[in-house]
C-alpha cells in the first residue's frame, strides 16, 4: 500500500504539527533545542514574555486529566503572549455524547490557532490533525501509550545540557516501558540524535521483546541495564500496574528495579538521573536518589517550559 507523507510535516519538510518524534530529521530536533535555549533566558527576566504568538489562541484540549502538563503548556503559551483557553473535555462535551471530531469542528469555528491535545487513545492527535482546518497547528501533549513528544524533547534538552554530545552515551530507561508514551518518544529521539546504546530495563511484563525493533537493547536485569550508564531515565509506575498480573506488588518492583544509591553506583560516576514526574518515592526511586546530586529532575521541569515555547513558536511559524 502507498505510504503517506508524515502528517506533521508540510511539503517543504517543515514541522506544522508535533505529533511524534518518530521520523523527524535530526536537524529539526536540534533546531527546537537551540530555540529552547534562547527562551530559557526569557524565563529569568522580570517580564517573562515574548510577542511571538501575540493575538493567537491556543486551546488546551485535555481529554485525559493532567494538571502538571497542562500548566506547563499554559505557562509556555502565555510567555509567548498567546491567549490560552483550557478545556477539560472530560467534563464537558464528550460527556454529552459529542464526537471528538464535532468538538474539533466547533473549536475550529472559534478561530483556534493551535490545539494542545492530550488523549487516552494512541493516535488521537493524528485524527485531529487530519480533520482540523489547515491553519490550525496540533501539539501532542500525550496520546495513550504512543507518544509524548514535548516530554521527549525536554528530556533531550536536559541530556544535551548536562552531557553535550549524544554520540558517546549509554542511556538506560527503566520501568513500565510497554505502557509509556514518554519511553517511546525518548527512544525515537535518542536514536535520531545518535545515541549508540539505548537500554530498556524492566520485567518481561513491562518490557516486551518487540521493543528491540525500535533500536533498543532489552534488559531484564537491573544491574546489567544500568551498568556504565551515562543517563538513567526512571519511569513512573502507574498505580493500576502495581498489583495484578503485570506485577505482584510495588514492593517487589522496588526491590528488583527501584533506583537506590547502591544500584546507582553501577552507573558512571557522573551519571544523571531523570524522571518525567510525578515521582513515586519508594516505588521506582528512593528519595535519596530523587533528591541527590545525580538527580536532574527539577531542571527537567524548568527546561520543559522553554522546550514547549520552542515547539509552539516553531510550528506556528510554518504553514501547511
Amino acid at each position: 500500500m502507498l505510504s503517506r507523507r508524515n502528517p506533521q510535516l508540510n511539503a517543504n519538510g517543515e514541522l506544522i504539527h508535533l505529533l511524534s518524534i518518530e521520523g523527524l530529521p535530526r536537524a529539526v530536533l536540534h533546531q527546537i533545542l537551540d530555540t529552547a535555549g534562547t527562551f530559557l533566558s526569557v524565563n529569568d527576566r522580570d517580564v517573562k514574555k515574548v510577542p511571538l504568538l501575540r493575538g493567537k489562541s491556543v486551546f488546551n484540549l485535555f481529554f485525559e486529566n493532567s494538571t502538571r502538563t497542562r500548566t506547563t503548556f499554559e505557562i509556555a503559551a502565555k510567555r509567548l503572549s498567546a491567549d490560552v483557553i483550557n478545556l477539560d473535555i472530560n467534563k464537558s462535551s464528550t460527556a454529552k455524547g459529542e464526537s471528538l471530531l464535532d468538538t474539533i469542528a466547533n473549536l475550529s469555528a472559534m478561530h483556534a490557532d493551535m490545539f494542545v491535545v492530550r488523549h487516552s487513545e494512541s493516535g488521537a492527535p493524528y485524527l485531529i490533525a487530519q480533520h482540523c482546518a489547515p491553519h490550525v497547528h496540533v501539539v501532542n501533549a500525550g496520546d495513550g501509550r504512543h507518544a509524548h513528544p514535548t516530554q521527549g524533547l525536554l528530556d533531550m534538552y536536559t541530556i544535551r545540557h548536562f552531557k553535550k554530545d549524544f554520540t558517546q552515551l549509554t542511556v538506560a530507561i527503566v520501568g513500565d516501558i510497554v505502557h509509556s508514551r514518554v519511553a517511546r518518544s525518548d527512544i525515537h529521539a535518542l536514536g535520531i540524535l545518535g545515541v549508540p546504546e539505548i537500554r530498556a530495563v524492566g520485567p518481561r511484563t513491562l518490557v516486551p521483546g518487540d521493543l528491540a525493533a525500535m533500536g533498543v537493547r532489552v534488559c531484564h536485569d537491573m544491574a546489567e541495564g544500568i551498568r556504565g550508564a551515562d543517563v538513567i531515565i526512571m519511569l513512573r509506575l502507574q498505580n493500576e500496574r502495581m498489583s495484578g498480573a503485570m506485577l505482584p506488588s510495588a514492593g517487589e518492583f522496588f526491590k528488583q528495579y527501584g533506583l537506590t544509591p547502591e544500584k546507582l553506583a553501577l552507573a558512571k560516576p557522573d551519571c544523571i538521573v531523570m524522571h518525567p514526574g510525578p515521582i513515586n518515592r519508594g516505588v521506582e526511586i528512593e528519595s535519596s536518589v530523587a533528591d541527590g546530586s545525580h538527580s536532574v529532575i527539577l531542571p527537567q521541569v524548568t527546561f520543559g517550559i522553554a522546550v514547549r515555547m520552542a515547539v509552539m513558536s516553531t510550528i506556528a511559524g510554518n504553514q501547511a
Partner: protein
C-alpha cells in the same frame, strides 16, 4: 424470461471448463452451454471479451439488519452484493436483536427474497444472545433457514458450554462456525508485534488464535462435530489447520480479503480503515495465508463485509469500530491474489464460487449441486465481468452504505482489477453496469 449470454469466456472452476461459448437460460436455470444460435431469447447479453463465471458465494457478510440500519440495510447491502457479482451470501447473527429466534431468521429471509438481489443464507447464533451460556433452538432455526451456527466475534469462554454446543450440533449434523480467538488473549486492537509496540496499541498475540484452534480441534476429535473456522489470521494458525486436515478432522476454513492482502504496517499513521477483526498481522502471516488459500488448506476467500458508518469509524484507532466494506471488492481482490500467486482465472475463482458451496454442503439443500457452478440444468446464478477493466474504489463507486475500506483509491492510489458487468440470480438480472 429467456436469456442468451453470447460469446463470453465461460469459466466453470468446478469442472475446469474455460472456453468461449454461449450460455442459454430459461426459467431460472441454465439450459445449455455451447452454441445459442437456435435459442429464441427474450434478451441477449453480449459477453464478447468478458468472463462468464458462476455467481460469487461469500461466506461472511454483515448486512446490519435487523437493528443496525444506520450502518447498513438489506436494500443497500444486497445491491452491493449484486454489484460485486455475489449471488449467494452467508450473513452473520450478531445483529440487534441477535439471530437466535426462528422468527427473526424468517423475516430476514422473506425481506431478502422480496428484493431478489442475492440468495441469503443466515447463520444462527450458537448461544442465546451470543452470551456463551445457553444453546439456541438449533433445529427450529435450521427449519427457518439457518445454514449453521456461529458465535461471530464473541468467543465462548466456558469450554463446557463449547463442548455441549458441539455435541448437540453434531447430533443433527449442523455445522458450527467459529472464529478461533481466545476470550482473554483476544483483547487488543492490533496484532502483537513491532508495529503495535511502536504505535502503543494493545496487541493480540498469535497465541489468541492458536490456543483457540487447539481447543476447537480437541473438541472436534471428541464430538466429530463439523466445524468451519472463520477468518484465520496467522501462519501458526495455518500450520495447525493443515495438520488437523491431514489428520482427517471435519474442518474447513476461510480467510478475509483484508488478511489476504494487508499487514499491520498498513496501519500507517493510525488509519481507522485498518481497524479490523481479526487484526492485520505480519508479512509472514499474510504469505502463509496466501499459500494456504492457493493449496486448498484454506477453502474459501470471504469479503468479511461489515459496513461501518462515519461516526463509528472516524475515531482514534482503538475506539474505531472494526470492519470494512467488502462485497464489491471480493471479485477484484480474488483476481489480484490469483495473479500474484500465478493461478489461472478458474483456480482463483474456485475460492469464491464452488469451494464455499462445498463448505456449506447439505445445508443449502438442492442448491449444493449447482450453486457456485455453471452446469446445464443448474441454477442460473451468473457473474459476468471484464477481467481487463480496472476500477478505482471511491465512496461514490460503492453501492454499500459502508464506505470505509482499506483498499480505497484515496489511500492506496491503486486501481483494482476486474469489473462486474452483470449479475444474474436465478436467471434474473440483479445488476447491470451502467
Amino acid at each position: 424470461m429467456k436469456i442468451l449470454i453470447r460469446n463470453g469466456r465461460v469459466i466453470d472452476p468446478a469442472s475446469g471448463r474455460d472456453e468461449t461459448a454461449d450460455v442459454t437460460i430459461a426459467s431460472g436455470r441454465i439450459v445449455g452451454i455451447g452454441s445459442g444460435a437456435d435459442f429464441e431469447a427474450d434478451r441477449t447479453i453480449d459477453a464478447t471479451g468478458l468472463v462468464v463465471a458462476p455467481g460469487l458465494v461469500d461466506l461472511a457478510a454483515r448486512l446490519r439488519e435487523p437493528g443496525q440500519e444506520h450502518e447498513g440495510m438489506l436494500e443497500s447491502e444486497l445491491a452491493a452484493a449484486a454489484a460485486g457479482g455475489v449471488t449467494s451470501l452467508v450473513c452473520l447473527p450478531d445483529t440487534d436483536p441477535v439471530l437466535d429466534e426462528p422468527g427473526l431468521v424468517e423475516m430476514l429471509k422473506f425481506r431478502a427474497r422480496k428484493l431478489s438481489r442475492c440468495r441469503l443464507f443466515p447463520l444462527g447464533a450458537l448461544t442465546r444472545k451470543l452470551e456463551g451460556a445457553v444453546l439456541t433452538e438449533m433445529a427450529e432455526l435450521t427449519e427457518a433457514g439457518c445454514v449453521g451456527f456461529s458465535q461471530v466475534d464473541v468467543p465462548v469462554a466456558d469450554t463446557q458450554v463449547m463442548l455441549r454446543a458441539l455435541q448437540y450440533a453434531s447430533t443433527f449434523g449442523y455445522s458450527v462456525w467459529l472464529r478461533p480467538q481466545d476470550a482473554w488473549l483476544g483483547k487488543g486492537v492490533a496484532a502483537q508485534g513491532a508495529v503495535a509496540t511502536r504505535l502503543g496499541l494493545s496487541g493480540v498475540p498469535v497465541a489468541a488464535e492458536t490456543i483457540a484452534l487447539m481447543t476447537i480441534f480437541e473438541l472436534v476429535r471428541a464430538t466429530k462435530a463439523r466445524v468451519h473456522l472463520c477468518r484465520l489470521s496467522s501462519a501458526a494458525g495455518v500450520a495447525l489447520l493443515r495438520a488437523a486436515k491431514a489428520e482427517g478432522l471435519p474442518v474447513t476454513a476461510d480467510v478475509s480479503i483484508n488478511s489476504l492482502h494487508l499487514t499491520d504496517v498498513d496501519i500507517g499513521y493510525f488509519d481507522p480503515a485498518m481497524r479490523l477483526t481479526p487484526p492485520l498481522r505480519q508479512g509472514a502471516d499474510r504469505d502463509a495465508l496466501r499459500a494456504a488459500l492457493a493449496d486448498g488448506t484454506i477453502d474459501a476467500l470471504v469479503s468479511d463485509h461489515n459496513p461501518v458508518d462515519e461516526d463509528a469509524k472516524n475515531l482514534p484507532f482503538g475506539e474505531a469500530e472494526p470492519g470494512a466494506t467488502g462485497l464489491e471488492l471480493l471479485l477484484s481482490l480474488a483476481l489480484r491474489w490469483g495473479t500474484d500467486a500465478g493461478l489461472t482465472l478458474a483456480q482463483a475463482l474456485a475460492r469464491v464460487t464452488h469451494e464455499p458451496v462445498r463448505v456449506l454442503g447439505d445445508a443449502v439443500g438442492s442448491l449444493a449441486s449447482s450453486a457456485g457452478r455453471l452446469v446445464e440444468g443448474g441454477v442460473a446464478d451468473v457473474c459476468i465481468f471484464d477481467p481487463a477493466a480496472e476500477w478505482k474504489v471511491t465512496p461514490d463507486a460503492l453501492a454499500s452504505q459502508g464506505k470505509h475500506t482499506p483498499f480505497g483509491f484515496g489511500s492506496t492510489g491503486m486501481a483494482l482489477p476486474g469489473r462486474v458487468r452483470a449479475t444474474l440470480v436465478a436467471g434474473t438480472v440483479a445488476y447491470e453496469a451502467a
